[in-house]
Amino acid sequence: MRFEEAQKELEQIVQQLESGQANLDDAIKLWERGEELHRLCLEQLDSAQGKIEVLKPTEPA
């Protein structure tokens, strides 16, 4: 999952929880999903420590 999507879903979940609309069972599930998304985001921020590759050029025809 891409960082942008994960972050967006996470923020939506927080808003949903804060609105107080969810029932308790759903709230627990939402919270678990939120934690998972947060972990996903952190992993992408931390694990992909700067990588620079040089592309081998194609000789122009």
């Binding site: 891409r2 960082f3 942008e4 972050q7 996470l10 923020e11 979940i13 927080v14 929880l17 804060e18 107080g20 969810a22 308790l24 709230a27 627990i28 919270w31 939120g34 934690e35 947060h38 985001c41 952190l42 992408q44 921020l45 931390d46 694990s47 992909a48 420590q49 700067g50 990588k51 620079i52 590759e53 040089v54 592309l55 050029p57 194609t58 000789e59 122009p60 025809a61």
Partner: protein
């Protein structure tokens, strides 16, 4: 005009020319071609006092094709052009064969410098043409991704521009993944090489944004970035492009065709990657809210429950009894009217706290 009568030896049914005769024939044929103007860059200019002619090679700035040119020294000097290598010229002349060597040459009759003004005019015409095709239209501009999986960097292999952009990107966002395509950014090979490298980058996969980076330079140095081939390739590139070419005051046409233009490496970095500290901070805030949210939810549910219970209690007879009322029952039935009981009957009385039995004394 001399008709082409070139003598050949006859060997059986085969007609064979000497080299000199062949060259003479070709030279005569070439001499019948019309005079034309040819545009190119002056290279390998050779002029010496003891030579009858001045020689140089006219080079096509597009693909590097070459044409040897000669001009009688007297005529060349009379033009007072003071030409140097690398200058763009228009040469008026005709082709001829240097018979002794079989070399094709262009014999110049006149030379005109194709100056900065002409370059600007040509550039302006191209700009008008591509603009009319809609290549620079604002509605063509795409939004850049906020969080690219990989960044493509198209730049010169020597370039300080490369280092500056890389530093700016990794400073702002250390987790950035960058794919660098290095190529010529100057001279006749630059434009086609840039186009090829751009295509390579697009094929590299997972590239969500491309930066075209080149440091400042002279007007001529930046010309490849106004080359029609490159400008079209930028406009039709499937991946959004940031153009970071030259300085603020330069406006090569790729700047107009790109989705966004940046005038400095750090400006480009700001467009391409998010600020890692800001991203982290926002994530931390969101997490904090996430962790508090279930507790808040429980508190709200609890408060609602308490409210409902309070109302329930307010409506129950118990609360009424607490205020000093009593319920009178006659064998379990609630007594609402005095005549429902008779003197001497036993009744049960329930109070806010506890109950007792009593005997009816008198009905009123």
């Amino acid at each position: 005009m001399v008709s082409m009568k070139v003598e050949a030896e006859q060997y059986g049914d085969r007609k064979v020319y000497t080299v000199a005769a062949f060259n003479r024939g070709v030279a005569a044929w070439l001499a019948r071609l019309p005079t034309v103007w040819v545009e190119g860059e002056v290279t390998e200019l050779r002029r010496q006092q003891r030579w009858q002619s001045v020689f140089f090679t006219l080079k096509d700035p597009g693909d590097g094709a070459c044409l040897p040119v000669s001009m009688p020294r007297g005529q060349f000097d009379a033009l007072r052009l003071d030409l140097g290598n690398g200058e763009r010229v228009h040469v008026y002349g005709r082709p001829e064969l240097f018979e002794a060597r079989g070399d094709l040459r262009f014999r110049a009759l006149s030379i005109e410098r194709f100056g900065l003004g002409d370059h600007l005019a040509a550039l302006e015409r191209l700009k008008q043409k591509l603009g009319a095709e809609g290549l620079f239209a604002p509605e063509r501009k795409r939004r850049l991704p906020r969080f690219p999986r990989r960044v493509g960097l198209l730049t010169g292999n020597d370039a300080a521009a490369k280092r500056d952009v890389l530093t700016a990107i990794t400073t702002r966002f250390p987790a950035a993944r960058v794919v660098v395509a290095e190529t010529y950014v100057q001279g006749p090979r630059a434009a086609p090489a840039l186009v090829t490298a751009l295509e390579d980058l697009c094929r590299a996969g997972e590239i969500d944004v491309i930066v075209l980076a080149r440091g400042g330079g002279s007007f001529e140095d930046l010309l490849p970035f106004s080359d029609e081939r490159l400008v079209r390739a930028v406009a039709s590139c499937p991946v959004p492009i940031v153009s970071a070419v030259g300085h603020e005051q330069d406006t090569p046409l790729t700047d107009l065709a790109a989705d966004v233009r940046a005038s400095t490496p750090s400006g480009a970095a700001r467009l391409i990657v998010p600020d890692a500290d800001e991203v982290r901070e926002r994530l931390t805030q969101t997490r904090r809210r996430l962790q508090r949210a279930p507790l808040h939810l429980l508190e709200r549910k609890r408060a609602r429950l308490d409210g409902a219970y309070g109302r329930l209690r307010a409506l129950s007879p118990r609360a009424t009894l607490e205020r000093g009322y009593a319920i009178v029952r006659d064998r379990g039935r609630i007594v609402r009217v005095a005549t429902e009981v008779a003197s001497g009957e036993r009744i049960d009385v329930e109070l806010g706290q506890g109950s007792f039995s009593a005997t009816v004394e008198e009905i009123q």
